[in-house]
């Protein structure tokens, strides 16, 4: 079928297996490393991370997409060791979680600079290693889709067109503006996962439908941030609300546009994380919830294996892509009703 970049080199798409599409080995806002309140003993951090990844393997999980952008704790050599020691494929991303977590050096850069930066990390390597990024991360700042966010979206679209990797977004706020940018750069929406569509404060079924109808993927990928959990962060939501939201999306015939993931930290860097939460929530809580609601087994194969492989497989690079034309190729509906 094709290939996907992992931190230990490219692998065949067929080899991805059960894939968690939006996870973190460890995420922290830039600057958090200066504050000792978050420091953990490295041997303990390693231990807890290995335990979670090993459990992921026990659930037959095979590929872990780490969506930590530049400067947010992305640590390629560490990912390589974790991957070697657990057998879990780890896909790293280039890009930024959002404009407001881009460090000062990158904030005033042009679209051209950012495009080349992302392409470098996809085709040459990240942080001086030969490990290449398998996707581009972009996202919405706390104040909304800022001018810097939009520059990053545009650069990501150009890099995606040129290299064939997909884009994963943090939040789906202001989707029309985001989609306009992708399409104006000639990137089909089936190369974009509009993420965190399931966060409590931002849920919008009409928006989900609009994205899926135009071929985009909709991320139910903060699964497990349940209001019922102790010290749940502001983006959490009642557990059953999320389940209902997801079932409603499937009922509209959008199974092939749906992505599930937990956005969990194996070991959080600059915040407490959510105690007891991990990628394994998907297998231990969410899928059982769906089973109880009568969802058939073959749906899980689609969600966890086929869709991630379709999405992550690198497309033929269109090195001569013209950003000013081909608006229409972005809008081909790929919905199966």
């Amino acid at each position: 079928m094709g290939k996907v970049n992992t931190v230990l080199g490219p692998i065949a798409s067929e080899d991805l297996g059960i894939t968690a599409m939006h996870e973190h080995i460890g995420f922290g806002l830039p600057g958090c490393d200066l504050d000792t309140q978050w420091w953990k003993k490295p041997e303990e951090a390693f231990d807890v991370t290995i335990q979670k990844l090993r459990r992921f393997r026990e659930h037959d999980g095979k590929t872990f997409v780490d969506c930590t952008g530049i400067g947010n704790g992305r640590d390629i050599e560490y990912f390589q060791v974790l991957s070697r020691r657990t057998g879990v494929n780890i896909v790293a991303v280039t890009g930024f979680v959002a404009g407001d977590s881009a460090l000062p050096y990158f904030r005033n850069k042009t679209v051209e600079y950012l495009t080349n930066l992302f392409i470098h990390e996809i085709t040459v390597g990240i942080d001086g290693t030969s490990a290449k990024a398998g996707a581009v991360k972009v996202g919405v700042s706390r104040e909304g889709l800022s001018e810097l966010d939009q520059r990053i979206y545009r650069a990501a679209a150009r890099a995606a067109v040129k290299t064939g990797v997909p884009i994963i977004t943090h939040l789906s706020t202001e989707p029309e503006l985001a989609i306009d940018i992708f399409e104006s750069e000639g990137l089909p929406l089936n190369r974009v996962l509009m993420g965190h569509a399931d966060v409590g404060q931002d849920a919008d079924e009409e928006r989900d439908k609009m994205i899926a109808s135009r071929g985009g993927y909709v991320g139910f990928d903060t699964i497990g941030y349940d209001k019922e959990m102790e010290n749940a962060p502001y983006w959490s939501r009642p557990r059953q609300d999320r389940v209902k939201h997801f079932l409603s999306f499937l009922e509209k015939g959008f199974l092939e546009r749906a992505v599930i993931s937990a956005d969990a930290n194996c070991c959080a860097l600059g915040w407490p994380g959510l105690k007891g939460h991990s990628v394994n929530y998907l297998f231990e809580e969410f899928i059982p919830d769906l089973r109880k609601a009568g969802v058939a087994e073959d749906v899980f194969e689609q969600l966890l294996v086929r869709t991630p492989a379709n999405f992550l497989t690198m497309q033929e690079p269109s090195l001569k892509a013209n950003p000013l034309s081909n608006n229409d190729i972005g809008c081909v509906p790929i919905i199966k009703s």
Binding site: L29, P30, G31, L34, G71, L103, F106, R142, W271
Partner: protein, 345 residues
Amino acid sequence: MVEHVEHRSGLVRTVLGLVPAQELGVVLIHESLLSVMPGAEYAPEIDMDKSKIFDILHRKLTGFRRSGGNTIVDHRGMFHGRDVKLYETLSKTTGVHIIASTGLGPERMLSGYFTTPQTHPPTPWPAEQFAGLFIKEVMEGIVVPRVERSGPAGIVTSIATQSGIVQIEENLFRGCAQTGMATGVPVSLQYGANALKDLEMVLSEGIEPHRVIIGGLDRLDAVKRKEAFAVAERGAYVALDHVGWSTREGYIDDRERARLIAELFEKGLGERVLISTNAVGCAKGHETKDIDFNYLLVQFVPILLQAGVLNEEIRILLEENPQRVLAVDAPATVKRETAAGSKQK
């Protein structure tokens, strides 16, 4: 005079530990050693070869030492490339005392952890939270991020946006003042649009004026408003810290700077004046003024003499004043260290 005696016996926190103030010799109080725009270390086009960085800084510090310099204060704070382990090695190998700073700013150099925390709404850090971070760097040691604490910070610094101080910078300035009061280290601030106003805001925290340094007072706008005189009369230190810079860059030139210094001495304010060059030893990811650490001693001192500044006054500028301000305020030190010591047990 009593004050002088006290401070002469004071101690200064260098990266290699406590040093008696009078052993600091000639001091440059506002300089940068390694200066990395936050994030540049992740950019593929930036060469972060540490052996090259060491060579550059070693050469420049040796040049400074040969010209008669003894001490350099790195005033770029905790998030602009500061590498305290490198500074320890440089200090050991060149014999130059290095004082490292804690602190953050200006706003455009802050990062998401401070400006948009993971709370709803994302309220930027208040002064007390910044103070908590900075105080620990003085009392417990400078952080080597996510690895260890090292030697102590000897000064707390911040910078305001030149078009005018913004809210989070006001929080930073107040946090610096709180740090100065809690630890006894001096507070060094680059003012925004109005030096005296920024100083009054900081003094409203209760810090003594003689523990505060206002930098950038050789900026054209500050000189026009005669802010150096007002700040010195208020009892704070005046840093004319862009020696070697000129009108093209927004500062008065060296001849005018020398005249300003002579005038400050004439008005009896000489004991509140500090001079430095705001040079960057090794810059990564940003443009910088090309000026060596020995410029002040080699080029500017003759200009001062020409302007009629006496040798004794030059000694006050380069030795006595910085030594006095860098000496940690003794009572605060004792109090805090006792508290910290008992906590560790």
